[in-house]
Symmetry: C2
Subunit: 461 residues, 2 copies
Amino acid sequence: MASQKPSIPKGTRDFGPVEMTKRNYIFDTIREVFTNYGFAPIETPAMENLSTLMGKYGEEGDKLLFKILNSGDYLKKADETLLSQKESTRLTTQISEKGLRYDLTVPFARFVVQHQHEISFPFKRFQIQSVWRADRPQKGRYREFYQCDADIVGSNSLMNETELIQIIEDVFHRLGIPTLVKINNRKILAGIAEILDASDKLTDITVAIDKLDKIGYEKVKQELSVKGLSNDQVMKLDPILKLEGSNLQKLHAIEQVLMQSETGLKGVRETQLLFELLQTAEVHIPVELDLTLARGLNYYTGSIIEVKAKDIDMGSICGGGRYDDLTGIFGLPDVSGVGISFGAERIFDVLEHLDLYPQTVNESTKVMFTNFGEKEQLFCLKIAKLIRQKGIRTEIFPDSVKMKKQMNYADQKNIPFVAIVGTNEMEQQKITLKNMNSGEQELLSIEEFMSKISQPLLIKK
Amino acid sequence: MASQKPSIPKGTRDFGPVEMTKRNYIFDTIREVFTNYGFAPIETPAMENLSTLMGKYGEEGDKLLFKILNSGDYLKKADETLLSQKESTRLTTQISEKGLRYDLTVPFARFVVQHQHEISFPFKRFQIQSVWRADRPQKGRYREFYQCDADIVGSNSLMNETELIQIIEDVFHRLGIPTLVKINNRKILAGIAEILDASDKLTDITVAIDKLDKIGYEKVKQELSVKGLSNDQVMKLDPILKLEGSNLQKLHAIEQVLMQSETGLKGVRETQLLFELLQTAEVHIPVELDLTLARGLNYYTGSIIEVKAKDIDMGSICGGGRYDDLTGIFGLPDVSGVGISFGAERIFDVLEHLDLYPQTVNESTKVMFTNFGEKEQLFCLKIAKLIRQKGIRTEIFPDSVKMKKQMNYADQKNIPFVAIVGTNEMEQQKITLKNMNSGEQELLSIEEFMSKISQPLLIKK
């Protein structure tokens, strides 16, 4: 076969050792915090039945699902008319019954329903896996990327929202990223629309409010008129548009507006209680009520959470909320869930940009033995074994090639120590240890070498 | 939409928390040993271009690849004749240009060639990722499963084989699985066929030798005759069929037979040197020369390695070998590679069967606080925060429901300690700590509680 120039599908990526170590640092941090709060790991298959996935992400989402061609003679039962008319869309489900997961939430809902009798509720699970979307690839948008989700299902308590925000605080504290948490409640938004007698205009209203900072009070009012709100309706919205003060002051103002909406007042009370819980839990990162926060509006039914990195324009790096009936579609109604999802790709970019990776992510092998030939490599094998038993990462250069090549290898792999063993060293039963940072070399006894190599590296930033 | 009974594609699996923890124990062990020998992690995309995958696993392999349907109007450019004649196989590449990876070796070869200028050789990488095969699912055979591979490319040295066998020893020592390593060398097999002037019958010969234990010396000779070997040829094979003694004795006998085969003698010398290196490295697990070992015969060009668990009939739990020109197909010839792959699924089964999981894999949350209401949960939030800061996994039951339900939850989740905080405890600023194993309860001050909960659990097996 002729040789081919290798490439990978657009929108996908290879991760080399350096990127992997950085990514694992992020995943390990998130995983550690999740488990510290009692969340347990699960994994679901990359492929789900298309019937599980279709219709869950809207019409656009259906198109963005990667579909797997059925195995074997997949055209056998396909409709001939559809084939001859090249009806791609309608043919799809006849030749494909599986798709790659699009997110972790729908597979999780499916998991909960399928395993409901093995699960003890409330079920706290986390899941760190890839998802796939046939989106147009662009900067920062990939067709394969990781999601890191934590959800609790089977509990209505606001303790869960509290815990998720504590998790957000812990994760970003450990990563060293200064963040701002914004929260909202779908019930407040619904209440506002209800009071205005404009439940159908919920999206228009939140979009308009969202522009307050940019276009100002008067223009927002104009926009709301254009969207069909009467003067009277816009007047009622006035206190909302002029919200200011602390979170509790804002909530108080909203409460006054929503006096006639049972749903709205419920949203206010939930949010008040959440702030109280966060205060007790001594959450120190800023948490701010933001009525314009409407992510996944058609999806969430209660709290909505979004996290932004301060001092860097990167969009949301974590988000989530409460959905009251996610498992209903799979036959298990009235199970409330609340969850958050960390955006690993953006967190990676933030850490790169702010240069926040700890020195340890650059460490791979601690000591490499040079290879001067068969006798020397036998000597090194014995010493290397002793060091590895102490859990110290050790390599022996496998080939007896030029010293320069061996040193280059150590250098490029960022190995801090090279142990040089030649005829002289072997005769004296000693090892020359070269510090690759300082360039210093020392002739050491095996005991001295072992002791030196066992010391922790000085962390330099 | 009507609710649907949830299920997953056949041959795939969900992993719940208990399985996940056990699987992670296996992956973590393997990953730790790999890094201890200086192997660095990489990841490749789940989807590769079909041109990368097709033709690499034989005709049967091509059929077992999961293919991804192209996005959008995938039928637009499809050949109308193929469509009307329902030519599934020939149509495939017209409507699909991506497939799911089938193993980690081909994507690795593609990675090495694509990134050859960023890599410093010899390149030691490990990769722990899922692979997908459209195989008929059966007991122990899945359509999605993990592979754990370590390979070195760009070095011909037998130090690499030595290191891989040391890795095998370390991994199974840590996991507590008694194992037997079998090794062979493709060059010895080729030499035997050469001496017999029957290079085309290499497979027949190894298959026949493989039956020696089962059907005996005479029947094997009969079988070889049936396969077309002359009496003279079978005679020459005699010393091979009667091999016995230590590895070195066997090698000596083989050497006598192969005196006229340059390739064969090369294989003998390589194997002798490998045994010498293993002895110096003080490898204690049994390593046995086995001429019948022919896994991946058309693939490997030098050493062949296979590992079996002792005392349990489970087939191979790890295997590998050397391939001299894997990257040639992607345009980079003459780069030798050698690698091993751990079979995580079978290792999982062996650990289950021999009950070898350490107690720690069952630990999730260490302490759960009960929830008796809003005041109590505020009290618990503060204490829980202090404990989590010590890295102790802690939960607060989120809902103020019946005590029995809360205790059941702790019980099912295998949580060893429950902290009970009611009105009495709050008044006294104390906590009742219940040991879920012994059933004992103690009323403790917050300091006593903190100290007690910080002690390591006694490990019981």
